[in-house]
């Protein structure tokens, strides 16, 4: 048996005969976010009744013709720009011919010879903070197939064509990936990028994103080994498992004196293993040729510029900016940019807070970031909500933070008010007003409370004065409790020190 050693770098598989390096390339199929299919007007909504979203074109009725959906083209170009890729101003669709009941035309319209997007790359960050650049060979547009359902009838299969003709981007990486963790990081980074761009919703459990996993193994310094392709793996975890299992299997086969055959394999999520689907000798001859029903896609620089201008700030740039300009830690920058919605929410709250306080964003960023990543995320997790439907909006949060910054609320009071905001949906100011939660900074009231605590604990006062400094915290706690948490902590500290020492 071979063991995976993940602690050391570079990643290797320890075989009986030595170390093996693994080489992975991923072909990610991402369903393009668009109202209509790639070549027909039928809806692409997920979860409709079977065959409810099938146009005459999707069903390949006699005489029906494809017409390109411009939105899908635009999304592919925007995605290409987001991976810094060459955009091909001239591309063309080809037919990939094979028979299957969920492929009504008898061919899939794809782009073999002239894809819409050429060479690009994506930077990935691993758990230990190291980064790597993974090459992307191409992105092409193609039609999705329908779905065959084999378990509804003893001898027949059913076909659902709702997905037939939906637009997919096939995003083909270079064989630059060297470990299961890198494969996972690549897919996660790609998913994040697609969601930022808005070209794919990345819902892997709905099949919006899935990957064909190409794996081979070799000894360090040797040329690429023979690869296998594991089809249609549909989660980051499964992709990592498929890479790991397949690499180990290949090492075992080779070390056992066998040979890897180029083949298509299937991943079994239950066991985390792969099994052979068809060998090279059974490979289809797809008889690709240019689709004569469609004209080449041709666009000018203006179109590309327009697509570029429509891109949001992308995750890598945002992370860098949060660190450099806002002074956030890599961790905070990472969690706040994980989803575009979160980053947008954070930025809105940040701007509102800075405006309320009349300060620069950099001055208040850490305060806002900590509250969002800590209290807000915690609350959302507890409530089972997404940031998009947070009971407290970014403006409301800014108001709360401003009340903290101007001394109206202490840290513990802010938490109290925040909880009340989550429950009631009321504004921080209203809650402060209604519940009298305003922080007390009046030294007279605080001195009175301190004196009462000191009077009630003469033994501890003696101990403190005798050198037990640690008791200071006890006195602070007692004073705060006596004032129902409303006392300004700074004032309590100052006055307590003065009265104890005095």
């Amino acid at each position: 048996m071979s063991d995976v050693e993940s602690a050391t770098k570079p990643f290797t598989i320890k075989g009986a005969t030595g170390d093996w390096e693994i080489v992975v390339g991923l072909e990610v199929h991402a369903q393009v976010t668009a109202q209509a299919k790639l070549f027909s007007g039928a809806s692409t909504r997920f979860g409709a009744e079977p065959n409810a979203q099938v146009s005459l074109v999707d069903a390949a009725m006699p005489g029906m013709l494809p017409v390109i959906n411009g939105e899908c083209v635009r999304q592919a170009v925007r995605t290409g720009l987001a991976i810094n890729a060459q955009i091909n101003p001239w591309s063309r669709f080809d037919r990939k011919n094979y028979f299957y009941p969920d492929l009504p035309q008898g061919y899939q319209i794809s782009q073999l010879y002239h894809p819409i997007v050429g060479e690009g790359h994506l930077e990935i960050t691993l758990d230990d903070g190291t980064t790597r650049t993974i090459g992307i060979e191409r992105i092409h547009l193609e039609q999705d197939a329908g779905k065959s359902v084999h378990d509804l009838h003893p001898s027949m299969s059913y076909v659902d064509l709702n997905r037939s003709g939906c637009a997919l981007m096939e995003i083909v990486s270079r064989p630059d990936i060297r470990s299961p963790a890198e494969a996972g990081a690549y897919v996660a980074a790609l998913r994040q990028l697609l969601r930022y761009v808005g070209s794919c919703d990345g819902n892997m459990d709905e099949g919006s994103m899935r990957a064909d996993v190409n794996v081979s193994v070799r000894r360090a310094g040797e040329p690429f080994g023979t690869r296998t392709e594991t089809k249609n793996v549909n989660s980051v975890r499964f992709i990592m498992a498929a890479v790991e299992h397949e690499a180990k299997r290949q090492v075992d086969v080779i070390e056992g004196g066998g040979r890897i055959v180029q083949e298509t394999r299937l991943f079994d999520p239950g066991s985390g293993t792969t099994r052979s689907m068809r060998g090279k000798e059974d490979a289809h001859d797809y008889r690709y040729f240019p689709d004569p029903d469609l004209l080449p896609l041709v666009f000018d620089d203006a179109f590309i510029d327009e697509c570029r201008a429509s891109l949001p700030e992308l995750p890598a740039a945002k992370r860098a900016r949060y660190q450099a300009d806002l002074g956030l830690s890599p961790y905070l920058a990472g969690v706040l940019t994980a989803e575009k919605e979160t980053a947008d929410w954070f930025e809105t709250a940040l701007a509102a807070t800075a405006a309320r306080l009349g300060k620069g964003q950099a001055e208040v960023a850490l305060r806002v970031a900590n509250f969002v990543a800590g209290d807000l995320f915690g609350a959302l997790k507890r409530l089972g909500r997404e940031i998009g439907d947070s009971p407290v909006g970014p403006d409301a949060l800014a108001e709360l933070l401003a009340l903290g910054a101007d001394g109206t609320l202490s840290g513990p009071l802010m938490k109290q008010v925040f909880e009340a905001m989550l429950e009631t949906g009321d504004s921080a100011a209203r809650i402060v007003e209604a519940r009298g939660l305003r922080q007390v900074s009046d030294t007279g009231a605080i001195d009175a409370a301190i004196q009462a605590v000191l009077d009630a604990n003469p033994d501890k006062v003696a101990d403190y004065r005798g050198g037990k400094d640690k008791l200071f915290g006890f006195f602070v706690g007692q004073v705060m409790r006596a004032m129902a948490g409303k006392a300004a902590p700074g004032v309590v500290n100052d006055r307590l020190k003065a009265l104890l020492d005095g």
Binding site: P62, L65, P66, N97, P104, D285, R287, F289
Partner: protein, 484 residues
Amino acid sequence: MTSLTDLTLAEMKAGLAARMFSAVELAQAHLDAMAANRHLNAYIVETPELALAQARAVDDGRRSGPLAGIPLGIKDLFAVEGVQTTAGSAMLKGFVPRYESGVTANLLRDGAVFLGKLNMDEFAMGSSNETSAFGKVISPWKARGSDAELVPGGSSGGSAAAVAARLCAGATGTDTGGSIRQPAAFVGIAGIKPTYGRASRWGTIAFASSLDQAGPMARTVADCAHLLTSMCGFDDRDSTSLDLPVPDYAAGLTGTMRGRRVGIPAEYRLDGMDPEIAALWDAGIAWLRSEGAEIVSVSLPHTRYALPTYYIVAPAEASSNLARYDGVRYGNRVTPPGGNVHDMYAATRAAGFGKEVKRRIMIGTYVLSAGYYDAYYTQAQKVRALIARDFELAFERCDVLLTPTAPSPAFAFGAKADPIAMYLNDVFTVPASLAGLPAMSVPAGLSATGLPLGLQIIGRPLDEMGVLDAGLAIERAAGFTARP
């Protein structure tokens, strides 16, 4: 009074406008003629109720338009909503589309009356109408002194026979490599294939997508012009449709050849050319010269590669286009007991497709196969570009080209059992198809055996008007009045 069915389309328009007869009377006259001529097997489906209802609507004033009340036959390649549409194939027997093709929708918009669906070579693959699953169409013509039944040409053979036999005022045809022009020539009528992209392909069953073009077939050039104006036009459901205005061809038709240059391509004068065909061609040249045209000799050097190129490109596209006929969603399905889905495909397609269709699917599959693709398909595309370039260069020196339409008059059934011999019938029509050019056949004379012969005019891209004008000049000069 001559029979209503003998009128030209233009005369019918005038007669209807002058209320000399009603649209219902006109439709009924044709329905009667169809009933009396079923032995020709020109129609696969007759639609008398539909036709009479449409005609009544014209008479009532509920329908109008430039073709109001004109009775037409529709090649069975065009989807007509609610009417069986089969492409002449057993594969689609009983298939009734719930949609109307772009071309027939245009004709309906303009008030036309549909008499029925016309027989054709299966999936438009054939030059004799012998490949239809609904039986061969018989030409209304017979050679002098012979009782042998003759082919009407193909693939629009039903259209040709019906127009020639006065079973409709005009018909739709489609032309992939000559399927309008060759049958028109065989039965002594006119037919024009417009520039690729002029007529919508939406709802027309595909044979070879990069070549298929719809066009009209009628007894006169002017009638073709009327129908062409209606049939053409941009359709945003067809990505190869041209978004350009369509002239009123009938209104623009003059037949004037003065100042026009007519090119005579040297390469079309084949070795061993039928002397009758050569003589007809020479006559055509003389007619146009006497009409004031300048005759220039031009060269189309890659002509001899056109036929092999066509018989790679067209089957390649067909092999893919016909993959959808798999028995899964509509049409024929054969399920062998105990078989799996692949057995179902095989049995369905074995039973549903005829011999010629299978031959072309196999040729097309072969030329697209790994290892052969570059040698056949890629090479054919290169040659196709050279052929188009030949025409471009020739049109620098002339406005239209004049050639024979077919190398022979109509032949008897079974006369060209060798597929290669059959394919050679397309030798003059295929080059213009590969280049996407407008081209028409006009009846120009009779063979020694009394059979019609046609001359072909090929024009520049989008110059249907120039083609029709030259066609009209030939028509007038030839004074072709023979009828079956």
